[in-house]
Symmetry: C2
Subunit: 122 residues, 2 copies
């Protein structure tokens, strides 16, 4: 009866405080779609400043920039996700899918122990 | 050369704002070890109040309490992780292990793209 609705979110801690999680992955995806850091941030309900900071963090974690922008500033120029950005996003999404599949038995076991008002799809 | 040190943390969102992640799992584990909510919280650097709130949340998410305590209050009485609590913790730990194993290829691919100061084990 219950519609399984459990979402599994995962976050990688690479050390040195460097993390990759759902927020940065979604931001990369939205920048790919919109070609703009500010539009991407807006679509996720975050300020331009925060979106920009996340992009700077992403660019500092990896060997090459994941996002390049033609100009900064509050207006925001065009932004592009680089080849490495696409690869990082693809690996993260592949990891999510694999994890979801691999953990299906444990997730079901946990769902079976939920209180009824958590598991009846309400 | 690089010592892989990436940690993967996962959080389950069951809906209705109910979540199970590393913090609650660690707390259950510490309560098992210490037999005390306050000692468990202290061991994790959290206030008694916060530890207690997390326990109440855990108890409300699942069909049966995961932790029972002989008395509350700031002194904290004894606390015990129930059979369902042990099962929830065991499934969560199994999920972590499975996810880690299943995602090894993607995690390696991401590690290979890290900036050198992120991946040289410093």
């Amino acid at each position: 009866m219950a519609e399984p609705k459990t979402r599994l979110r995962l976050r990688l801690h690479f050390g040195e405080g460097a993390m990759l999680g759902p927020g940065k992955a979604d931001l990369l995806e939205k920048i790919t779609e919109t070609g703009s850091i500010s539009a991407a941030g807006r679509g996720m309900g975050m300020s331009y400043k925060r979106a920009w900071m996340l992009v700077e963090t992403l660019n500092s974690i990896f060997a090459e920039p994941l996002v390049v922008s033609s100009r900064g500033g509050a207006q925001g120029g065009g932004a592009e996700v680089t080849e490495m950005g696409r690869q990082v996003l693809a690996q993260y999404r592949a990891l999510e899918a694999r994890v979801r599949a691999a953990g299906a038995a444990e997730i079901s076991a946990l769902e079976a122990m939920l209180a009824s008002d958590m598991s009846d799809g309400k």
